[in-house]
C-alpha cells in the first residue's frame, strides 16, 4: 500500500517536475530568440515573407469569421436591447464587444488554429528532415534564420488581423442591424462613435491582441523546435500548439481584462 502510494506520488512529482523543466526551457528559448532577433529585423524581407504566410493567408478565415460574428452579435444584441427600448445603442454593443473582447480573442483563437499550427508543423518537419541540422552545420543559426522571423511575423500579424476582424464584425453588425432589421443608420454610427474610446477600448484591444500574438507564436515556434523528429512527434506538437495557445489566450484574456477593468470609472 505504502509502496503503491510512493509510486503514485513519484509519478505525480515526475510529471510536475518535467512540466516545470519544460517551462524553464521554453523561457530560455524565448530569451535566446529575442537576443538573436537581429537577423529577422535587419533582413526584414525574411519577416515580410513570414507575414505573408502567417498573416495574409489567414485573412480569409479572419474576415469571414468576423463578418458572421458581427452579424450574430447584431441579431442577439437587438433582441435584448429592444426589450429596454435601446435598440439605437446596437452600434455601441457591437463595436465594444468586438473591439474589447471578441476581436482579439476570436482572432487569436483562429490565428492559433490556422497560422500557429502551420508554424509548428513547418519547423517540426524541418527538424524531422534534418533541414535544421543542415543549417547548423552550415554555420547558420536556425533560431535567428528560421524561428525569429516567424515569431516577429506572428507578433506583427496578430493585431492587424484582430483589427480587421473587428472592422469586418462591425460591418456585419451594420448589415444586419441597419440594413436588415432597420435600426436608424445615424444612431448606429453616431452612438458608436461617441461611446468607443480610443484609449480605453481600441488601445486595450490592440494591447490584448499583441499579447496574444506573442503567446501564440512563442508557443508555436517552441513546440515546432522542440518536436520529436518523427511523424507522430510533429503531429503531437501541432496539437499541443493549438490546445496550449487556446488556453493561454483565454487565461491571458481574463488577466488582461482584470488589469484593464476600471468599473466604468475611467470615462
Amino acid at each position: 500500500m505504502v509502496a503503491k502510494l510512493k509510486d503514485v506520488l513519484g509519478h505525480l512529482g515526475g510529471a510536475v517536475t518535467a512540466r516545470i523543466w519544460r517551462l524553464g526551457f521554453a523561457s530560455r528559448f524565448f530569451g535566446y530568440m529575442l537576443l538573436h532577433s537581429g537577423t529577422a529585423l535587419r533582413r526584414f524581407g525574411l519577416t515580410i515573407r513570414e507575414i505573408y504566410f502567417a498573416g495574409v493567408l489567414s485573412l480569409i478565415i479572419i474576415l469571414v469569421s468576423g463578418l458572421f460574428v458581427g452579424m450574430v452579435l447584431a441579431l442577439q444584441g437587438y433582441e435584448t436591447l429592444q426589450r429596454y427600448g435601446s435598440s439605437e445603442a446596437l452600434g455601441i454593443l457591437v463595436a465594444l464587444s468586438l473591439v474589447r473582447e471578441l476581436g482579439p480573442v476570436v482572432a487569436g483563437l483562429l490565428f492559433a488554429s490556422r497560422a500557429g499550427s502551420a508554424i509548428t508543423a513547418e519547423i517540426g518537419l524541418m527538424k524531422a528532415t534534418e533541414q535544421i541540422a543542415a543549417m547548423e552545420m552550415m554555420a547558420v543559426d536556425p533560431i535567428a534564420r528560421v524561428v525569429a522571423p516567424r515569431f516577429w511575423a506572428g507578433v506583427i500579424s496578430m493585431p492587424l488581423l484582430a483589427v480587421l476582424f473587428s472592422a469586418m464584425g462591425i460591418f456585419g453588425g451594420y448589415l444586419v442591424g441597419v440594413q436588415l432589421i432597420g435600426v436608424d443608420e445615424g444612431a448606429f454610427w453616431s452612438q458608436m462613435q461617441a461611446a468607443v474610446d480610443v484609449r480605453e477600448d481600441i488601445l486595450n484591444g490592440v494591447i490584448k491582441s499583441v499579447v496574444f500574438g506573442v503567446a501564440v507564436t512563442w508557443i508555436a515556434v517552441f513546440e515546432g523546435y522542440d518536436a520529436q523528429p518523427t511523424a507522430e512527434g510533429v503531429s503531437s506538437a501541432t496539437t499541443r500548439t493549438v490546445v496550449t495557445s487556446s488556453l493561454a489566450i483565454l487565461a491571458l484574456d481574463f488577466v488582461l481584462t482584470a488589469l484593464m477593468f476600471t468599473g466604468g470609472n475611467a470615462r
Partner: protein
Amino acid sequence: MAGPSIVEIEGVSFGYEAARPVLHGVNMRIPRGKVVGIMGQSGCGKTTLLRIIGGSRRPGSGSARVLGTPVNELDGAELYALRRKMGMLFQFGALFTDMTVYENVAFPMREHTDLPPDMVHDLVLMKLEAVGLRGASRLMPSELSGGMARRVALARAIALDPQLIMYDEPFTALDPISLGAVARLIRLLNDSLGATSIVVTHDVAETLPFVDYVYFMADGRVVAEGPPDEVVSASEPFVGQFVNGRLDGPVPFHFPAPGYGADLGLAGTA
C-alpha cells in the same frame, strides 16, 4: 597513416544517456587530402562520431581536434567559424524544401559572403555543373529524384569550398546509377577541391573501391583500420562478417532473449 591530420580523435567516449555509452575510447586520424571511410553496422556509433567532429555533440571524455582546433572546447561563435570550413552531406540530402535547387546552393554563399548577385549566380551554376544538375536549377526539391537531391545537397555542401567534407550515409536508398554517380563525385570533388572527405556508411561494395583508408567500427569501438585492401584481407572476424554479409560471426543474428522454450510456455525446457 602518414601526412598531417585534419581531424584527430583521441580517446573519445560518448553516450546520449549515461547508462548507454555509444562510443568507447575511439582514436582516429584523418589525413589531409584523403577520402576516409568509417564503416560499421547501423547503431555502431559512426554517425555520432561525425556529430562530434561537427561539434553537434560534445564527447564525455577524450578530445576531437579539427583543423588543429579542439571542437569540444569551442563556444557557439567559434564553432560556427570552424563550421564554415566544413561541408556536410546528410543522409537524405536535407534540402530546404521551400527553396529551389538554385536557392539551396546559393544559401551558404548568401548567408556568409557579401558576393554580388551575378557572382553568386556564376558560382551556383559552376557547383551545379560539377554535379551535373545545372539544368535542374529552377526545380523544387519535391521535383527531384533521390539521387538528384543527394547531388544538389553535395553541390550545396561544397558551395564555400570547404576543407573538410563529411558524408553521412550518402548511398542510402539510391538506385545503382545514382549510387555510382555519387561515389564518383565524392572522389572527384575531393581531389579537385583539394579537400578531405569522411564517408560514414555501411555500403561496402560502393565505398571500398574509392576510399584511401577505412576504419571499421563495432559497438562504439574501432575494430580495424588501414587501406581497404589490407583491412579486408586481414583476418579480423568482424570485418570478415561485415564485408561478406555473413550471419555467423561476432555480431549475433538473435537479439538477447530468455530461453525460447520458456518464452513459448513449454514446461521443463530451457
